[in-house]
Symmetry: C2
Subunit: 237 residues, 2 copies
């Protein structure tokens, strides 16, 4: 099985309140994005999507300085995340069987979870890492609760989201044909009728978008050996 | 304005995988529940709800040893959280104007947020602390995604949830009359037609239910001065 990963890392990180986009902030001594990239070193093909003006800088300062393979693709993103992933997909070789999409700012993903979601996608067509929602979810309109969402079997989607190559390509083509935009890749695949398998993720697999998240990640990354024992990916419910 | 707080702390903490329930595990050198109790020292009335067999132990080992007012109520919980809160409500003096309900295992709540949600409830009748959902939410059935929930204006409910005293009492009476159970107190109040105001919470205000959460809380508690500057409670959307 040949595996490709597309890593959108073009977010501006406005919520972080720093001049540096969040993916370049230091985590345990090196840029956050390096931790993420490290997890995908065994992939056949790696495509990182960054802001158009950062493509050259990224090749030199991230891939070059931190000793990543020079043949990895660094490509220019689009206005929205979905556009960035679409651009990235164009650089995936046709020989790849499974394509993963993983947030650049989720550095605490484990090899075990990547493997589980990849195999599940190869078997089932599509699979995503997700965790059961622990909080009560409300819909709010103009500062007031309008609805409590029935919490039965709610999951919070994480990444990686993994798909057989033909399926994700078909889903993206359909979405752009129909002018559909989704908040994750799976939602594009759902609408072409492919069932998405759920793989039990980890509370550690956080998305770093605020200064608090970075503090949290700093403490978690020190526990990485413990983390790597977890997240076998079995769905319990 | 006189304020009471009911603090359900009767969870068995099965997810924590320890022999001690999670609320008694050490956080920065003292039991987690002590951090939570500390935040409500200015309340007129404090009612802590614990497992029936722990009532005496809690009075002695937590209130006694850690120097909390002896007049605080420690009462026996029921089979479910809602039953525990109902038991706690019976010990709130009739003189209180606003009743807060706050999870025993959310120690990182700030005074500022407690104040904001309390005042909002006094004005509007009911208010809850909540944060906008950052993840895509899916419904899952038997290991597969059945639906992507429209993410527009979704919030994750936290605590405190705050209510004018007459309103929460009426809501609980109605829920038990109709045999209704909800996953939070606000859902009981919503069904009697009272609008619930949203107060912007904080990512730091985590609920500690797993070993990872405890690691995260350990790192956040060290940053407490920074934390206390945040969470003014303004709703941005």
């Amino acid at each position: 099985m040949k595996i490709a990963v597309v890593i959108p890392a073009a977010g501006m990180g406005r919520r972080m309140g720093t001049s540096q986009p969040k993916q370049y902030l230091a985590l345990a001594g090196r840029p956050l994005i390096c931790h993420t990239l490290e997890r995908f070193k065994t992939c056949e093909s790696v495509v990182v999507v960054v802001e158009p003006e950062r493509v050259e800088l990224f090749r030199r300062e991230i891939l070059g300085t931190h000793d990543f393979p020079r043949e990895w693709h660094v490509v220019a993103g689009g206005p929205e995340r979905q556009d960035s992933v679409r651009n990235g997909l164009e650089y995936v070789p046709n020989t790849c069987d499974v394509i993963l999409v993983h947030d650049g700012v989720r550095p605490l993903i484990t090899f075990a979870l990547i493997q589980t979601v990849t195999h599940k996608a190869f078997d089932a067509g599509a699979a995503i890492v997700a965790i059961p929602t622990r909080d009560t979810i409300k819909r709010g309109v103009e500062g007031f609760v309008s609805e409590t969402i029935d919490r039965t079997h709610l999951w919070q989607a994480q990444t990686p989201q993994a798909f057989r190559a033909d399926i994700i390509k078909k889903a993206f083509a359909a979405a752009y044909r129909d002018n559909f935009s989704g908040t994750d890749e799976a939602s594009l695949v759902e609408r072409i009728g492919v069932p998405i398998a759920l793989v039990q993720g980890s509370d550690w697999n956080i998305k770093i978008t605020t200064p608090e998240d970075l503090i949290i990640a700093e403490s978690l990354v020190k526990q990485f050996p413990l983390l790597c024992k977890e997240g076998s990916g079995e769905v319990e419910r």
